[in-house]
């Protein structure tokens, strides 16, 4: 067991727990977009930063990737953390304003303005889908390509992957495209992030008795009308 200080509270936790797990266990919620139980920690969205240490040596670390250590001093909502979190949310809003999750988070953290040039992107590169595909579905059908602002998600050379079983796990975990999957226009109704996924309802004959993975997508319903 490890003794540490969490927001001024002396706590005792099991060895090997991440700060995020500790904080959630003790009821200090930390927002995160790229973390999901069952998937390996990734540290991409940076929303879950917490302040570790004291005085001038204090620094921000991502709580999802950092393990709790003996004597650690952690603050989950210090000024420095809140400032960083609000800026990250502002950046997220500037890129993916249509995501319900991001909107809710922004409102929860009282982000009232967005001062950057507005973009409308579909992906925040959190990597949840990639890890879902690799770690839970054992498929490795999609991955990241390129670097910097050209980084994108998809299959190599945009060729449909033979590994993809159209399980839909990637869409299930996506924090950005939620809204899109309940869209009212059939060809825009699904993610379209990679070459793998086409709306199954378009090929309904071939998938006659297959359960549709797009629930709650209504693309086929729209088409039928």
């Amino acid at each position: 067991m490890i003794n540490m200080k969490l927001n001024g509270l002396g706590v005792t936790v099991e060895e090997g727990m991440t700060i995020l797990e500790v904080a959630n266990f003790y009821g200090f919620p930390i927002p995160t977009l790229c973390h999901m139980e069952g998937l390996s920690p990734y540290g991409a969205c940076r929303l879950c930063v917490v302040e570790v240490g004291d005085g001038p040596r204090a620094r921000l670390v991502t709580s999802c990737t950092s393990r709790a250590e003996e004597g650690m001093i952690v603050r989950t909502a210090s000024n420095r953390v809140m400032k960083a979190r609000m800026m990250i949310l502002e950046l997220l809003l500037a890129s993916c304003p249509q995501s319900k999750i991001i909107q809710d988070l922004a409102s929860k953290y009282q982000v009232r303005q967005q001062r950057f040039r507005q973009e409308h992107e579909d992906c925040i590169m959190c990597g949840l889908c990639v890890r879902m595909c690799e770690e839970q579905m054992m498929a490795k059908a999609i991955g990241f390509r390129g670097r910097g602002e050209k980084r994108s998600l998809g299959t190599p050379f945009d060729i449909k992957s033979e590994e993809c079983r159209l399980c839909g796990g990637c869409i299930y975990v996506c924090p950005a495209c939620q809204l899109r999957c309940t869209y009212t226009d059939p060809d825009k109704a699904i993610c379209g992030g990679c070459a793998n996924i086409h709306p199954p309802c378009y090929l309904k004959d071939k998938f006659d008795d297959m359960m549709c993975y797009m629930d709650p997508c209504v693309a086929c319903e729209i088409k039928r009308d």
């Binding site: 930063v49 990250i88 997220l92 590169m125």
Partner: protein
């Protein structure tokens, strides 16, 4: 080569090689640098010629020849170093080679090809005499010139692998680690983590017998940095030796050299070196019978900047996408394949053999405590000597920039240096006293980084630099963590907006806020240091950002959308220089004159005495060539036109009374304001204390530079029926500001000029024969009195001093003229062409001299006691401070002494004491105004020209007059004075002319001057006009920066082959 199987055999082998070295060195040897830099400059051609020459003449036994890696002096490539004697022949061409070889064989020196000190043009006999090398401590880099990188025996001759021998003999890994720890070596990759500490941790890490790795990080990606490449290219065995020792120290048996594919020569040399080491038995299984294994493989990186980050590098070595991961765990705990991995920079590893073979204490003697040893920097940018320099840590930045680097290339002063590549920061010239060590640089907001050092001068825009680095980083960020990917992109967006004039002050705050969050929240070193270029430029050059945002001006003349044509934006009057130059090229001189005259009421005056800021910013000059001679072209045009031929457009006032405006001072500022106000329909009265109009133009500038009839003609053309000039009317004596207002004047413009010389403040200044320069010049120019007699001395280095000296020389009773200046000629603020002309006329320059005492005999000057100076450290302006040498006093007998150190205005009558209640700055004797509106503290009273700025140029005075005319008009009409800044962009399209053989020229035209004996006799003008042919040729040299903005949009279809249709 026979494989050596025991340590004894190796020791024996090394000893034999070292002994043979002595025999080889009795013949002259040519050493040529053939690193990547050398090859790019053409050393391969030189090598071919040398080889052919040696073979043709059968000189194989008489002449040694060594091809080495980079030696550091890249500016002078290709060069040959001749041993013995270390004569350095630089910037060689193929045809110079035979001469060099003959000199080497004949034992003489080919003077004409030797390196010459650029300022004194003195040839340096030996490499050791060259200032570039003198202040360096080339512990590591110095070996590069001594060995051929693809010959292992060369390395051993220089004592190579001695450290390995020592380490194997001891066979104690703890001893190695302790030795490195004691040496105080810190990682040369940039962060400066103690290498010994890292090895200690790596040694202790992992289970017993667990696989461990040593990695040499040669993924050098900083723009402008290439020291790692040069080490791998020039001395790969040193790196191999370092890695072998590292392997022994931490217990690893496998090493990787991670080098980028862009370094083919480094890869080639390293591969050859690895094979040689394997063949000799010092690499591979059971090294020299010690029972230890160590193998090294090369991993080629695909050139992603982020792969220099250690966790990303590990991923890349593993064959995965080069993405960092969160540390801890650190690579020394979990590295390649989860095994402990010790990653060191190339330069760190190159230091290891030095530490082991010479001992830690010896190593720690270099540098300063906490920052021991030497560091290699690649010195690039706007500096005279670019190249690789190796200096002890703790040396001052100014030593590197000014002594080793040789200072700026052109006239522009050095403004800042950027250290540490894209993740580093800019350090301003005012902080050049800073010692170069890891901790000081971090405190200053920069980092050591891998050692790139980019020097920037006044023609570099700091916002543009920050934007450049941000673009690099946004492209090179791996994109994994959100704040780095989006943060760099957004910072780039904001910087881009600012450089395009679309930025706002709110955006500037946002930029800073964002930069701090990015620094705080990103995952790896790349992201954490990515905001450094922004933060450090914001910290030291915020005013440049504000200038871009508020005034829509780029002071360096770089940002295209704000500058338009640099010549136009540099001109205080906004003269469309590009436009009249284009008209001159087309032969349309009338139109050219109209363009000049529209912006400037004194074109002929400016054509002679302007300090031509346009030429300083001319892209033909800042790009490395020579600026277009814009002033000479202006002179050419104005000589062809009468000032009265231009009819300005008048604004007519219908049915309203013309308001009255008073202007005090009929100099360039006053007359310009009078002219433009008159065009607006004002009735202007100009008061002047002299009996003639012209102000400083008339009383201070001598006739040989500016003929009197030119001033008179131009003034005559300006004074129209709206302007009345009252001469012999002095402010304070004959009238007051209050009086003017009560007489019904709506506004007053004070443009009194700077007519009072500032005294030297040493004893004897009031003696007979000592004159302030203004008094001396004025007595002659206005009253024709010749005050100079016998031996004349002038104290000062500005234009006023040179003018006074040249005027004195033209007076009959003068026997000789000497100028005393406290710095060197290079630092003199006077125009270069004026100093040159003065020297031609026989005026002596006594530089590095400070007057200490004026010697008198019964109230009459007899001489001057002076003290010699040496130049010390450069001050914030980049000029070196003069430091007096004690005991160096000497006496110069003089009959006349002219003091010309600076000028001020006669402000006594203006201040509170003079009862005009105008705020003045007593110290600089100037009037305080709002810099934008030129308004004084009294409403309706404006001031401009030298009265506000202190002694300044004519063109600035004219600009002030122009501005005041606008402000007075707005004031009288009751409109808000401040206007939003606007950008002056080229608008009118002048079609370019075809440049043919006759008009093509690379070099700037020289302004013709009258012959020296003739001009010394009188006051006839010295500078002459260009001929038509010269003018056309010079005008054709213009790069036409305006065309980017004015060229009509291509509407015509692209040219196609005509096909006949039947």
């Amino acid at each position: 080569m026979k494989r050596l199987i025991s340590l004894d055999e190796f020791i024996d082998f090394r000893r034999r090689i070292m002994a043979e070295k002595e025999i080889q060195y009795d013949k002259p040897t040519l050493v040529i640098c053939a690193g990547t830099g050398g090859q790019a400059s053409g050393s391969n051609d030189i090598i071919r010629i040398i080889k052919k020459y040696i073979l043709d003449k059968g000189l194989q036994d008489k002449l040694g020849f060594r091809i080495t890696g980079c030696q550091g002096f890249c500016e002078m490539d290709p060069f040959i170093l001749v041993q013995p004697g270390r004569h350095l022949y630089t910037k060689l061409k193929m045809e110079d080679v035979p001469r060099v070889i003959e000199a080497a064989l004949g034992g003489f020196v080919a003077e004409e090809l030797l390196y010459k000190e650029p300022r004194t043009l003195k040839a340096c006999q030996s490499q050791n005499d060259i200032p570039f090398f003198q202040k360096q401590t080339r512990t590591i880099l110095g070996d590069n010139e001594k060995l051929d990188p693809i010959r292992i025996l060369d390395y051993m001759e220089q004592g190579g692998y001695a450290a390995l021998e020592k380490a194997l003999k001891r066979n104690n890994s703890e001893w190695i680690v302790n030795e490195v720890l004691k040496s105080g070596l810190r990682g040369r990759g940039g962060a400066g983590f103690p290498t010994g500490k890292k090895w200690q941790l790596a040694r202790a890490s992992g289970k017993d017998g667990e696989q461990k790795y040593v990695v040499c990080n040669a993924d050098e990606g900083d723009p402008g940095a290439y020291m790692d490449r040069s080490l791998l290219e020039g001395n790969p065995h040193a790196i191999i030796e370092g890695m072998l020792i590292a392997g022994m120290a931490i217990g690893a048996d496998q090493g990787f050299i991670y080098v980028r594919s862009e370094y083919p020569l480094a890869i080639k040399h390293t591969l050859i070196a690895l094979r040689q080491a394997r063949d000799l038995g010092i690499l591979g299984k059971n090294i020299l019978g010690s029972g230890r294994d160590f193998n090294i493989d090369i991993v080629r990186g695909a050139g992603a900047f982020v792969c220099g980050e250690e966790t990303a590098l590990i991923k890349s070595v593993e064959g995965l996408m080069g993405e960092p991961r969160q540390r801890p765990p650190y690579p020394i705990e979990k590295g390649i394949g989860g095994h402990p991995t010790c990653i060191n920079n190339v330069e760190t590893l190159a230091n290891i053999p030095v530490i082991i073979s010479r001992g830690a204490e010896e190593f720690a003697k270099v540098g300063v405590p906490g920052n021991t040893g030497t560091k290699i920097f690649s010195l690039v940018g706007k500096i005279r000597n670019t190249g690789l320099v190796e200096v002890p840590l703790g040396i001052k930045i100014s030593d590197v920039v000014y002594d080793i680097g040789g200072g700026p290339v052109g006239n522009a002063k050095i403004k800042a240096v950027q250290t540490g590549g894209p993740s580093g920061g800019c350090i301003p010239a005012s902080m050049f006293d800073l010692p170069i060590d890891y901790d000081s640089l971090v405190k200053a907001g920069s980092i050591m980084g891998s050692g790139g050092m980019i020097v920037m001068d006044e023609n570099t825009c700091m916002v543009d630099i920050a934007k450049y680095f941000m673009k690099f980083l946004k492209d090179e960020s791996c994109g994994k963590c959100f704040t780095c990917r989006k943060g760099t992109q957004r910072m780039y967006e904001i910087l881009d907006d600012i450089t395009k004039g679309k930025g706002t002050l709110e955006q500037l705050d946002l930029l800073e806020e964002l930069a701090l969050v990015v620094k705080d929240t990103t995952m790896c070193g790349l992201g954490q240091s990515a905001p450094n270029p922004v933060l450090s430029t914001l910290r030291y050059f915020r005013e440049e950002y504000i200038e871009h945002i508020v005034n829509k001006r780029c002071p360096a003349g770089v940002c295209k959308e704000l500058v338009g044509a640099p010549c136009q934006s540099a001109c205080p009057l906004g003269t469309e220089a590009w436009r009249y130059v284009a008209y001159i090229a087309r032969g349309d001189y009338d139109e050219a004159y109209r363009v000049i005259r529209e912006a400037n009421p004194f074109p002929s005056v400016c054509a002679r005495v302007c300090n031509h800021p346009c030429e300083e910013k001319c892209r033909a000059g800042t790009g490395g060539g020579q600026a277009v001679s814009i002033r000479a072209l202006k002179r050419f045009v104005t000589d062809r036109a009468e000032p009265s031929s231009y009819i300005p457009i008048r604004h007519l006032r219908a049915n309203e009374e013309s308001p009255k405006v008073a202007i005090v001072g009929a100099g360039p500022a006053g007359l310009t304001a009078a002219h433009y106000l008159s065009l607006q329909g004002y009735r202007v009265t100009v008061f002047d204390a002299e009996r003639k109009a012209g102000g400083m133009m008339f009383s201070a500038i001598p006739a040989y530079r500016l003929p009197r009839e030119i001033i008179e003609k131009e003034i005559e053309a300006l004074i129209d029926e709206n302007i009345t000039v009252k001469y012999n009317c002095a402010l304070g004596k004959d009238f007051t500001v209050d009086g003017l207002f009560s007489e019904g004047y709506k506004a007053v413009f004070l443009a009194l000029g700077a007519h009072r010389s500032i005294p030297l403040k040493i004893d004897g200044e009031n003696s007979e024969g000592v004159y302030p320069s203004i008094q001396f010049l004025r007595s002659f120019n206005v009253f024709g009195k010749k005050l100079g007699k016998g031996a004349v001395g002038v104290i000062g280095g500005g234009n006023s001093a040179v003018d006074a000296a040249r005027v004195a020389l033209r007076q009959e009773d003068v026997t000789g003229v000497t100028i005393f200046y406290r710095r060197t000629r290079h630092e003199m603020p006077a125009f270069e062409e004026e100093i040159e002309a003065a020297e031609q006329e026989g005026i002596q320059l006594e530089t590095l001299t400070t007057p200490t005492k004026i010697l008198t005999n019964s109230g009459r000057l007899t001489g001057l006691q002076c003290q010699r100076n040496i130049l010390g450290e450069p001050d914030a302006s980049g000029r070196r401070r003069p430091i007096p040498i004690p005991g160096s006093e000497f006496i110069v007998p003089l009959d006349t002494l002219i003091v010309a150190i600076s000028e001020g205005s006669d402000i006594d009558c203006l201040g509170v004491a003079g009862k005009m209640k105008i705020e003045v700055d007593e110290r600089s004797s100037t009037v305080k105004v709002d810099s934008e509106t030129l308004c004084t503290n009294r409403p309706g009273v404006f001031a401009g020209g030298d009265l506000v700025t202190g002694p300044n140029t004519i063109v600035d005075a004219i600009a002030a007059g122009k501005r005041v005319a606008v402000m007075i008009d707005r004031y009288v009409r009751g409109v808000e004075l401040k206007q939003p800044a606007s950008v002056r962009m080229p608008k009118i399209y002048v079609p370019p002319v075809e440049v043919d053989e006759e008009t093509a020229a690379d070099l700037r035209v020289e302004t013709p001057r009258a012959a020296v004996p003739w001009r010394k006799r009188g006051f006839a003008e010295v500078e002459m006009s260009l001929t038509v042919r010269e003018a056309k040729r010079e005008a054709c040299r213009c790069l036409r920066c305006d065309l980017d903005f004015t060229r009509p949009k291509e509407t015509a279809k692209p040219e196609r082959m005509e096909v006949e249709v039947k």
